[in-house]
Symmetry: C2
Subunit: 179 residues, 2 copies
C-alpha cells in the first residue's frame, strides 16, 4: 500500500502537480489523500490519517513548494499527525521502517536556485527540513523527485517526470512483492 498525501492549496489551478498526480493516482496500490480537498477548514482527521499511514509501506508527500517549504496544510499535517508518542518520542514508533518519497514542484526554474538567482541558495538548501521530518520518524528517505519551473516546463519534459514518478511507485510495489 502507498499513501499519497497531496497538498495543493489551489488544486484546479495546478498544472505540473496535476499531471504528476494523474500519472499515479489510479495505480491499484495508491490511496490519495488530497488534504486541501478533505480539510478545507484545516480540521485534519488525525485518526483517519494515521490509519492510512499504518496500512502503508510507502508514504508520498506531494506538493508545490511555497515559501521554500511545504504548504501550510501539509505543515499542519506534520504538526498534528506526526505527534510525539505516535511517530516520535517514547512509544512513537508507528512509522519506523516505512519509506518516504517527497515529490515537489517549484515555480522558479533551476537557475533561480543559485547564488546569482532570485532564491540565492541551491534548492538542496531547503530540503533538510523535509528530509529530517521523515528520518526523525524512522522512515527511509528515498531520493526526492523535484520538478523545477512548474509554470513553464514543456509538456514533454513534464510528462517524462510523470512517467518516472509512476515507474518509481511501480518499482516500489514490485520490490515489495518480490521481498
Amino acid at each position: 500500500m502507498i499513501a499519497l498525501i497531496y497538498a495543493h492549496p489551489h488544486p484546479t489551478r495546478s498544472r505540473a502537480n496535476r499531471v504528476l498526480l494523474d500519472a499515479v493516482c489510479e495505480l491499484p496500490s495508491v490511496t490519495v489523500h488530497s488534504l486541501y480537498d478533505r480539510y478545507p477548514d484545516f480540521d485534519i482527521d488525525v485518526a483517519a490519517e494515521r490509519r492510512l499511514l499504518l496500512e502503508s509501506q510507502l508514504i508520498v508527500w506531494q506538493h508545490p513548494i511555497m515559501w521554500y517549504s511545504a504548504p501550510a496544510l501539509q505543515k499542519l499535517w506534520f504538526d498534528t499527525v506526526l505527534a510525539n508518542g505516535w511517530a516520535t518520542g517514547d512509544g512513537g514508533t508507528a512509522l519506523v521502517g516505512k519509506s518516504c518519497l517527497w515529490v515537489t514542484t517549484t515555480g522558479g526554474p533551476s537557475d533561480t536556485y543559485t547564488p546569482q538567482g532570485a532564491h540565492r541558495f541551491p534548492f538542496s538548501a531547503f530540503t533538510p527540513a523535509i528530509e529530517m521530518t521523515a528520518r526523525y520518524c524512522g522512515m527511509h528517505w528515498l531520493p526526492p523527485l523535484v520538478v523545477h519551473g512548474a509554470h513553464e516546463i514543456d509538456k514533454l519534459a513534464l510528462h517524462q517526470c510523470a512517467a518516472e514518478y509512476r515507474q518509481r511507485l511501480l518499482n516500489f510495489v514490485a520490490a515489495g512483492e518480490d521481498g
Copy 2:
C-alpha cells in the same frame, strides 16, 4: 513601530517563549499579534495583518521550531499574508526595506544539531527557508535570536536571552529615532 508576530500552538504550555515574550511585549513600540490566540480556526484576517505590517519598520517572527520549521499557522500566515502582488512579484513591494528579526526556540539542545545528534544537521541547515522568506520580500534580515534546549535551559540563561531580545528591540527603536 515593531510588529511581533507570535506563533505558539500551546501558549499556556510554553516556557521559553513565554519568558522571551514577557520581556518585550509591553515595550511601547511593540504590537503583538499572537496568531494561535487570534486565529484558532486558522482563518487569518489578511487585511488586518497587512495593516500592522505596513505601519511597522521591524517585523519579528517569534515561534518555537516544529518539524525544523515554523508552526503551521505561521506558515499559513506566510502563504496568505505575503502574497504575490503584495509582498512579492509585480507591484509587490509592501515590505521592501523593512527589517525582519527571527526569534525562535528549539526543544533539542544545541548538541542535537550535529552529525552525531538526533537532528543530524547543524541548526543553520534549517534557517535558509525562513531567511529567504524575508529576503524575497525585500526585507533586511537581522541576525536571528535562537534559544536551544527550551525545555531544560536554566532560568538565568533564559532570562539573559530575554534581556538580549529586549535590548535588541530597544536598540532598533533608538536607531530609528536617531536616523
